[in-house]
Amino acid sequence: MKFEWFVASRYLQSRRKQSFISIISIISIVGVSLGVATVILVIAVLDGVEHGLRDRFLANEAHIVLRMIDHSFFGNYQDRIEQITEIDGVVAASPVVYSQMGVFQTGSEGITDTIYIKGIDLTQEEKVTGFSQYVNGSIDFQTSPLIAEAELREQETITGGIVLGSRLAQRHGLTRGDVLRLVVKLVEDPGGFGSPMLLVDFSNFVVIGVYESELAVYDNRIGFIDYKTAQKLYSQVGKVNVLLVRLEDAETVSELSPVIEETAFSFMEMPITTTWLETHSALFAALKMEKMATVIIEALIILVAAFNIASTLIMTVMEKTRDVGTLRTLGATRGNIMRIFIIQGSVIGMLGTIAGTVLGLGLCWLLSTNILRPSPWIAIAVIGILILCQTIITFRRLIPTSKALKIGMVFFWTLTVCFVLYCLVKPISLKELGFSEIYQMNQLPIRVNWFFVGFINLLSFLICWLATIYPAWQASNLNPIEALQYE
């Protein structure tokens, strides 16, 4: 061991020999580790939110939506789809009849809700969005036995089956087999005497399945029917108004959407594409800004911790001024003196960074792991007993003598803290908190970005290291004679 390490490690330790490391070192270490732990945790949550949303958007949505600017219908779509799938990077495309319909509640005799209806071609849609994996129940829009059953029971004509968004179904108290009456369009009363009264064109659908995407926007407001049925309802047989496109790589949308628009010009009047990134651009921008703000705030927290290290060191330098003088008479160079204090500060910075990383990653793990935890009361009992023991030890001055005992105590306390955290920290259910509507997720998502963890480690260590430079330089510049006479 170089003598600089020998001296620095002794300065890190407690003078009173009560504990293994001095209180002031511990405070500095805790300062750094809290900064590092919070930044890792908060960024993991923000990253988790962003990636959770991305994954869900990408799983449920087409990458590109192609339509005419006025939403009008167009025919011959099978050829168009072939044309589009020939483009490099496009995997599949599907025809959709997209519309809005009203929910007619028999009891209240009026339209109580408006929902989006996607008329889909099952086989094609499957290739674009993987529709079926989010459905509980049947997707046979024409042949489900529930349809015949309902027809028999209700004595009414049933147009077909419908798959309803889970929250939507829940809101209207509908389960599989129930009949939903939809208002397809409003028509003018043909027999009226120029009266403005409108008649409603109803259609009955049987709920054959429930769609659960965990994205509140969809689960709340969407229903799926067969596109042929939709074409008939709108008297647009052989036509659709939207094409959905799936790409090999969702990140290439901005390059491919102009190409698709270009192709579409040959069969559409004013084609317009909307990419999934555009649809959610405001959300992603907000998340990005939030992340940036967090990094800045957390860097400030670490900076505060670094100032803490600097002031600790300045205090040590003042306290050790005579030591510095003595070491210089013994032959230590300025460089040696400087290194002693840099080592001292860097060890604090490094221990703090490591502890913070372990704590941050540990919390991330606890917040994302659904396993049965012991009751929180056990944790409270354990910590109570331990604080009691420690108080007795401290008050009766039962100071641990051997180094092994001191290290043992530190180890024991660390274990206890880990156990208590394990009991108390569990995944946060946004559903229970009532936030799932806003964040469109049921559980607070956590995603550890290892690159960022590494970056924060380096940043934290660098900041701490920089904080040591000035005090160390100050110590090395002390005049040995004055230092020796320092009171």
Binding site: M1, K2, F3, E4, F6, R10, Y11, Q13, R15, R322, D323, G325, T326, L327, R328, T329, L330, G331, A332, T333, R334, N336, P480, I481, L484
Partner: protein, 235 residues
């Protein structure tokens, strides 16, 4: 007698703004090998200043200090550190022991620095860290503190601390030991014990001592005493 140190026309002034305080004014002095030289003089005459210059802790305004014909005033900062480590031992009025280290570690410190900084060769022979500690233990034995190796300075008496400081000054077998009022802060009886140790070392190891003191008992034991008056030596 063989000459160890030759001080030639030494000047030292302190500057405070425009005013100059001349402390040493062309001082000449020879120090012989293996002697105990005491320097006496009125307070403020510049004894400590002289000792600091001999100990290379400060640089003279003018003049030279030769150690066996090597002019140390020409050495660089790093070379001076090495020179202090190797050739000089200090004993101060206040013991200046490091509070965080045991008596043994305090004594070994200079050897430790030499071991890790200056590749640890002692008289051409490389010594290991264990040898450093063995030497330190031996030195503490020779100043009568064999029972106090693991004590911290706060657990030692004033006289014991000063004896630890003397042992510490000896760790690298320096050419000279510089002591500034080594008994200035301890009572008469303890002083005697400390002086016994000094004299014993001088006789056994042929170590050279330069001692600044107001204490006439030290000068009685010394082989030679010089007086400083007005920035010069009067023999």
């Amino acid at each position: 007698m063989e000459k160890l140190i030759r001080i030639d026309n030494l000047h030292k002034s302190y500057y405070d703004g425009d005013s100059e305080l001349k402390v040493l004014k062309g001082l000449n002095l020879d120090v012989h090998k293996s002697e105990i030289l005491t320097i006496m003089g009125a307070s403020g005459v510049g004894k400590s200043t002289l000792l600091h210059l001999i100990g290379t802790l400060d640089r003279p305004t003018e003049g030279s200090i030769f150690y066996e014909d090597q002019d140390i005033t020409a050495l660089s900062e790093i070379e001076l550190s090495r020179f202090r480590n190797n050739a000089i031992g200090f004993v101060f009025q206040f013991h200046q022991l490091l509070a965080e280290f045991t008596a043994l570690e305090n004594v070994a410190m200079g050897g430790y620095i030499k071991y890790s900084k200056y590749s640890g060769s002692l008289n051409g022979k490389t010594q290991s860290l264990r040898e450093v500690y063995e030497k330190a233990e031996h030195l503490l034995n020779s100043v009568g503190l064999s029972e106090r190796l693991t004590h911290f300075p706060s657990q030692l008496s004033g006289g014991e601390r000063q004896r630890v400081a003397i042992a510490r000054a000896l760790i690298n077998q320096p050419k000279v030991i510089l002591a500034d009022e080594p008994t200035g802060n301890i009572d008469d009886k303890t002083s005697e014990a400390v002086l016994d140790v000094l004299q014993d070392i001088n006789e056994r190891l042929n170590q050279t001592f330069i001692i600044v003191t107001h204490d006439s008992r030290i000068s009685e034991r010394a082989k030679r005493t010089v007086h400083m008056v007005d920035g010069k030596i009067e023999e």
